[in-house]
Structure formats: structure tokens, C-alpha cells
């Protein structure tokens, strides 16, 4: 059974002071239903999640108590990707024909403060200041730059691109372009990463209407097809967040294994992809994820970024809506925002940020603590 995406909805990322996170989730679902020309009572199942804004199944209080199967998903930054994966398997198995995937969140301002006990760690690890995601991304980037000859220039160019793309995206949180020098001179937060190289926790919602591909044309004149969805966790030896120690032999990251699995499912390779969304918690991870997902060799990013290859008009357009850097990261919604943007691009509805050459295949990738990745491949 093939799986189609027939409706997409977004509640604008950033800050919505008058709305709860749940209301932003409901807003996204209503937008996706409207896009599909369907109503809530048509939905046979739902998967959804948030980190800080409540249980997704409480959305029925806003959308209607229709008795549908509603399952809450929580999988860190990969919550949205995991919800979509669950919906994908529900359709593929033949159990359901039509359902919704939703993610939303509303975080307090400032950096996340995860608790050691929630991650199977002892208190001393958090108490002594070793349990910060910002530190991990800096540590991984520092080593990666050392091993693969990446310089600060590449980090700055990723940030510059993100805010340029954000300025072209009406739904982005950050719509102000930043100059190369503004980024290069911003405060060093966690060496080698500066202030404008990190995304921030934010608010927002995203939803997708998913259906059995054989029935997609009944509902939509422009269905897209979810060719693959894969989630993988870390192997022994992969260098991951919240790890008091690491093995000496470095194994492939879960991104590598999830990416390979997704390409295998879809029966295509990285060269067939026209538009890409990668987890860009910070500029270093976008660079690392370019190679881990198979879009270039390790170390090639320096030149690709200098050539503008990952810009909207480049041959490897990445994070066309400004990614997490320009949209912020409402954890529950972030992975679905990526899918939303890929669908916008494949439909040719990207406006000022539309990539050229009539894209046919899109790719999304999320990465989350404590070491899991979710990849989807979407085609026309």
C-alpha cells in the first residue's frame, strides 16, 4: 500500500502569546484539513506529540470528540518524524485509509534544561554542567572541523543562508537577513558556535493529512507520495548527546543508518533528490548532516557552501524555509514543519523561496536526543 500526503497545515512558528501550544496544534490541523478539503470527522486515526504543551490526544477537545484512534508520540526532537512514521505504517499495513499527523509545542524562553533522570543518567552529570545540548553540538562540530578541514567560514555561510531563506518565507519566525559580518562577530556561545549559529526553542504547530495512495485522487488534485519513512537509533560507538563517555571506535551515526534505510525503501539515491530539509539545530550539524545523509563527502561542504550550492538557486537546496535556525524549534512540530516545506516546494507553491527546475523528489531529516534520526522521502 502506498502512502500519500493530501493536506498540509502550519501554525506559524515563533511566538503566539495569546495561544496555548495545543491551540497552535489545532490551528495547524484545521489548516491541513482545509487544504485537503476534508473535515475532522473524516479522520480515522491520529498520531501526534509535543514536549512541553500537553498530550496531543487532548486536541479532540478542540477539534471534536469523534472517537478516532489517537496515539500520543514522544521521541525527542524526532517526535514529528516518529508520528509521521507511525501514520505511514498504519496506512501501509492496510489498517487505515485516512488520518492526521500533528505536532505542536510551546517552550519557555532560553535553552532547554533536560533532567538527567529522564535520560537514564545520574544527577552529578547535570549538576556539574555537562548536560547541555549546545555543548554537545559544539563538541561534535569542533571534532568534525578538525577531522575534515571545515573552517568557520562554512559555519557562517550556513547561518547567512538560513536567515536569507527565512526572509523569503512568510511563515518563518526570523525574517531579518543577517550579514556575513554580523554573524562572524556575534558572541561566541560554545566554541566554535556563535549566537547566530544556534536555533532557539520556539512555538508553533504543523499537521499533515495522510491517506492510502489509491484513494488520494478522490480527495486531492495534487497528492504527494511518501516513498519512505525510517527511524533509527544510535549504535554502540556513535558520538551522541548526553553521553558521559564514548567508545574509542566511532560508529556510523543514526542519521547514516536512517538515511540508507530510507533510500533503500524508496529505491533511489541522494543524486535523485531535488530539495532537502536537514536538522540544523546549529550550523555545525547542518554541515555534518549534509554528508551523513549522503549528499556529499565529508569535507566537501566547505567548497559547496562557498559556491552557494545549498542556496535556493543551488543544485543542492537545503532548508529553503530557513530551517530550525530561522523558524526556531518547537520540538513536537519541527520535523513536520520540514515535511510541510518539502510539500510546498514539490507543489511549486514556494513563492519567493521556490526552487527552480520543477522539483520532483524531496527529503527530510530530523535528529534528536539521545541519538535518533528520522528520514522521509517524498515525491510527486
Amino acid at each position: 500500500m502506498d502512502v500519500a500526503i493530501i493536506g498540509i497545515g502550519l501554525h506559524r512558528f515563533g511566538r503566539s502569546p495569546d495561544m496555548s501550544g495545543m491551540q497552535q496544534g489545532a490551528s495547524a490541523v484545521r489548516a491541513a484539513l482545509a487544504d485537503a478539503g476534508l473535515s475532522w470527522k473524516d479522520m480515522q486515526f491520529a498520531y501526534g506529540g509535543s514536549q512541553d504543551a500537553g498530550n496531543a490526544d487532548s486536541l479532540v477537545n478542540e477539534l471534536g470528540l469523534t472517537g478516532l484512534q489517537f496515539t500520543n508520540i514522544w521521541n525527542g526532537c524526532a517526535t514529528g518524524g516518529s508520528s509521521l512514521h507511525a501514520a505511514y505504517t498504519a496506512i501501509k499495513s492496510g489498517e487505515y485509509d485516512l488520518g492526521v499527523v500533528v505536532g505542536f509545542d510551546k517552550h519557555p524562553r532560553g535553552a532547554f534544561n533536560p533532567q538527567p533522570k529522564d535520560w537514564g543518567l545520574d544527577d552529578w552529570y547535570g549538576e556539574t554542567g555537562l548536560m547541555l545540548t549546545t555543548q554537545f553540538f559544539a563538541l561534535k562540530t569542533q571534532r568534525y572541523m578538525h577531522d575534515h578541514g571545515i573552517t568557520e567560514d562554512a559555519l557562517i555561510r550556513v547561518s547567512e543562508k538560513a536567515f536569507t531563506n527565512g526572509s523569503l518565507t512568510p511563515t518563518a519566525w526570523r525574517q531579518q537577513k543577517l550579514s556575513y559580518d554580523e554573524i562572524a562577530q556575534s558572541a561566541m556561545i560554545s566554541d566554535p558556535l556563535r549566537k547566530y549559529m544556534f536555533c532557539s526553542p520556539a512555538e508553533g504547530g504543523a499537521a499533515l493529512i495522510i491517506c492510502n495512495a489509491e484513494k488520494a485522487r478522490q480527495y486531492s488534485s495534487k497528492p504527494l507520495y511518501l516513498k519512505a519513512a525510517a527511524i533509527r537509533t544510535r549504535h554502540y560507538g556513535s558520538f551522541e548527546v548526553f553521553a558521559p563517555s564514548q567508545a574509542m571506535n566511532v560508529a556510523d551515526a543514526p542519521t547514516v543508518t536512517a538515511s540508507k534505510a530510507a533510500f533503500e525503501l524508496a529505491g533511489i539515491g541522494p543524486k535523485d533528490v531535488d530539495v532537502i530539509q536537514l536538522q540544523d539545530t546549529d550550523c555545525g550539524t547542518e554541515i555534518i548532516h549534509m554528508a551523513e545523509n549522503g549528499f556529499c563527502e565529508h569535507g566537501e561542504q566547505e567548497q559547496l557552501l562557498r559556491d552557494g550550492a545549498t542556496g535556493i538557486n543551488g543544485h543542492l537546496p537545503i532548508n529553503t524555509d530557513g530551517g530550525c535556525l530561522a523558524n526556531g524549534e518547537p520540538v513536537g512540530a519541527s520535523g513536520l514543519r520540514q515535511v510541510y516545506e518539502i510539500c510546498v516546494q514539490l507543489r511549486g507553491e514556494g513563492g519567493a523561496r521556490q526552487v527552480g527546475n520543477n522539483p520532483k523528489v524531496g527529503y527530510t531529516h530530523v535528529y534528536g536526543a539521545p541519538g535518533l534520526s528520522g528520514v522521509t522521502i517524498i515525491s510527486k
Partner: protein, 143 residues
């Protein structure tokens, strides 16, 4: 009189004139981990034993924590007294890379591959005025 109490038993030998980091090693596959745990993350075996991981190592990667972390961070500092600290992974002779605070706290002082020395330092005071001790690494000055 104040006593020096480790932040957690079993992380390092203490008290000791030459403290060592403590970890566990799997009896089946020989992989080491820090802190010690009863099961092996590599092969799933439950036959592990406590081992000394050493007191010297090589810096594998590093960063600097420039802002005071939120709770669960628990030191005796205030926003006003907070001093940036280094964080890194140090490759230990016991065959594992251990994440630790680093005493050098500027980019000029830190370089991948530099030799590092274990130090057990007072981290905060408890209500009785005891020193709560934790581990960190310093740059090796003499060779």
C-alpha cells in the same frame, strides 16, 4: 572542620594522593565505559568489573561553556560569580573517551590532541560547609 565528599561515589578513587577515574570493563567483549555500569552497552553482557581508567589522557574535542547553565546545574556560583568552563572528551589509556569539565577555559589554551591530567577539585559546598568534590582535567604543564 569541613570534609571533602565526592559528588558521587565510584566516579574516581577518593581520598587518594593519586586519584584515578573509575569505569567498568566488560568481561566478554573488553569494552570500557564511564561511569561504571553493571551491563555492557556494546554486547549486552552483564559481566562487567570496575577498573581504573587512568589519570592522564589526550584531548579529543573541546568547547567552552560561556553562560551559566540552568537547573539541573548546581554549583555554588551566582550569575555574578560564574566563570566560563571548558568541556571536552578526554581519551583515556583505559580505552574510553570521558566527558569532563576542563580547567583551561579559553580557546587559546585548548587544542585537540593536547595531554590532560585528571584533577579532583571542590565544586560546591553543601549546607554543612563540606566541599563536594568532582573530577576535571587540567593541561599538563611538566613532561
Amino acid at each position: 572542620m569541613h570534609t571533602q565528599i565526592p559528588i558521587k561515589e565510584g566516579l574516581f578513587t577518593w581520598p587518594s594522593s593519586k586519584p584515578q577515574l573509575l569505569g567498568s570493563r566488560c568481561s566478554r567483549c573488553a569494552e570500557a565505559t564511564f561511569p561504571a555500569q553493571p551491563d555492557c552497552r556494546n554486547c549486552g553482557s552483564r559481566e562487567t568489573h570496575i577498573v581504573e581508567l587512568g589519570d592522564r589522557g589526550t584531548l579529543w574535542t573541546w568547547t567552552i561553556q560561556t553562560f551559566m547553565p540552568k537547573q539541573p546545574y548546581h554549583s555554588s556560583e551566582t550569575e555574578a560569580t560564574f566563570a566560563p568552563y571548558g568541556v571536552g572528551y578526554v581519551e583515556m589509556p583505559g580505552g574510553v573517551r570521558v566527558e569532563a569539565r576542563l580547567q583551561p577555559n579559553t580557546a587559546q589554551q585548548l587544542k585537540i590532541g593536547m595531554p590532560m591530567q585528571l584533577a579532583i577539585i571542590p565544586f560546591r559546598s553543601d549546607e554543612q560547609g563540606n566541599d563536594i568534590m568532582t573530577f576535571c582535567f587540567t593541561a599538563v604543564t611538566e613532561e
